[in-house]
């Protein structure tokens, strides 16, 4: 466990030693803040109309769910930049022997790396979460829905981290890792888009695999264990694949 934390801490530290992490944090925060203010503005404008409705949607439904939905897509685009260097850079700089000859197992290396990047993603999540939380100053929110949304975004980010880690273990070129992570995520996203716009729900298997499809229910406050299990399985699969991949460097070249 100690070695996992040591590796995770190093990973986080190296991230913050490069301008990349800071600029991503800044850009995400700026874009999301702009979006948040826009949503809030629209909500305030629509207040008179909402007041006439019998069972009007609250601020959580309109502003927060929308915000987290957009956050998911923005991070889908940006996360590969962060995950690409996890193992690719070690492969390219030939620093893996340091980990391989230290008394740590492959599982510990992968979990350490994963935990490191997850820590960074959780920081992004925290920074985004501060925006809707600030609404508590002026109004009351649907706490259950808010929490379910945060858990959803957290799981989405954790899945993105797992897939990014695996892609990064495949190649010594960080850019190739980034592009392929991006490709896979995009694919998992549009799987959903096409099957739902087609209006035919019988092509459900593919749509079911879509990473965002399991995100929407959580945003609207529907906390189904099946969605949680989907994400956990997704994460577990790619972590195991990464461990296998790392081990193969030792077995065969």
């Amino acid at each position: 466990m100690n070695s996992i934390l040591t590796i995770a801490a190093r990973e986080l530290r190296s991230l913050f030693l490069s301008p990349l992490a800071w600029s991503i944090l800044a850009v995400v925060q700026l874009v999301m803040a702009w979006f948040f203010l826009g949503l809030l503005d629209r909500f305030v404008m629509a207040l008179p109309q909402l007041a006439q409705m019998e069972n009007p949607p609250g601020v959580t439904e309109i502003v927060v769910a929308q915000l987290l939905d957009t956050a998911g897509i923005v991070l889908l685009l940006i996360a590969p930049m962060l995950t690409m260097r996890l193992l690719s850079e070690e492969l390219r700089n030939q620093t893996l022997p340091l980990l391989f000859s230290a008394p740590v197992s492959m599982t510990e290396i992968i979990l350490g790396k994963y935990l490191g990047i997850l820590g960074f993603f959780m920081l992004i999540l925290l920074l985004i979460a501060l925006m809707p939380l600030s609404l508590y100053a002026g109004t009351s929110l649907d706490t259950g829905m808010l929490l379910s949304g945060f858990i959803g975004l957290g799981l989405l980010l954790a899945s993105i981290a797992a897939i990014g880690l695996f892609m990064s273990s495949l190649t010594a070129q960080p850019t190739v890792a980034a592009i392929s992570t991006f490709g896979v995520l995009l694919l998992l996203w549009i799987l959903d888009t096409f099957t739902t716009t087609g209006g035919d729900t019988s092509g459900g298997v593919l749509a079911y695999l879509s990473i965002l499809r399991h995100y929407q229910p959580l945003l609207s406050g529907t906390f189904k264990s099946v969605d949680i299990v989907y994400y956990l399985l997704f994460i577990g699969t790619f972590i195991v694949l990464s461990i296998r991949r790392l081990d193969s460097y030792r077995l065969q070249h």
Partner: protein, 319 residues
Amino acid sequence: MNNDVLVSVDQVSRFYGPLRAVDSVSFEVRRGEVLGFLGPNGAGKTTTMQMITGNLAPSAGQIKIHGIDILDEPKRAKAEIGFLPEQPPLYRELTVDEYLSYCARLNRVPAAKLASALDNAKQRCGLTQVSHRLIGNLSKGYQQRVGIAQAIIHSPAVVILDEPTVGLDPIQIREIRALIRELGGTHSVILSTHILPEVQATCDRVQIINKGSLVMSDTIAGLTQRMLGSGLLVALRKTVELSDLQSVPGVLSVAALGENRYRLHCAENQNPAEALVEKSVQQSWGLYELTPERMSLEEVFVNITRNEAPAATPTEAAA
């Protein structure tokens, strides 16, 4: 100094696809021993070292570190190893202190001993002045030293260095060699190199690997013995008959090199130098030069690696 075996390599082979990079190599390294691992490029030195350190799994055979099998109990075995690969595994964005404390933690140095382990490693490798500098900004020589410091930070039983002096200036090379000798006192050191004088300067024992198999394993003394040729070079003021020289006891054959210089080929274990000097004085040949012919380490190396047969004897080679 006790003589326990710290590294034991038993019939280890490694294939890369159809290519046999290492072919049933066996050897042992004892405590306090510095083993030089020599071989031409692509002979399998690095592959062997990667297998000993657990960076590569052997295709066949067994490797034990301090009696612990590296495949069965990799964590315990690896705790006994410090490894400097050919390319030092450095994180350029960290400072020397940050990097070394990371390595120490990875190698399970207890938190209480962290600071002293760090100081000790830095001091031994002459890094104290650059503690707070970024590794990426250090010169190649200093980076190499950081690499060595990384390998010894947890004072492992076995230190394995793959070409540690590449890219260093002559003064740094001397310092690193001294450091390796010093390490040999308490640890076992395996050192790969293709710089031959380095082996003579630092090692107790030498192994030569060629095309994946061990072709020679000998102590430095044994190697020096091999280098001792069986010829004498003689220069005289006076021209003499070859038969006169031949008549000196112990001389097998004589070759004239021109300008009154001769090469005497002598019987093994019989040095005719004394007899030759006496005879020269008696007959006033005017002997002014008498040199025992020595093979350089290079010649021994070339002979061994060129001939497929294990350990061609130096006498044959010199003849």
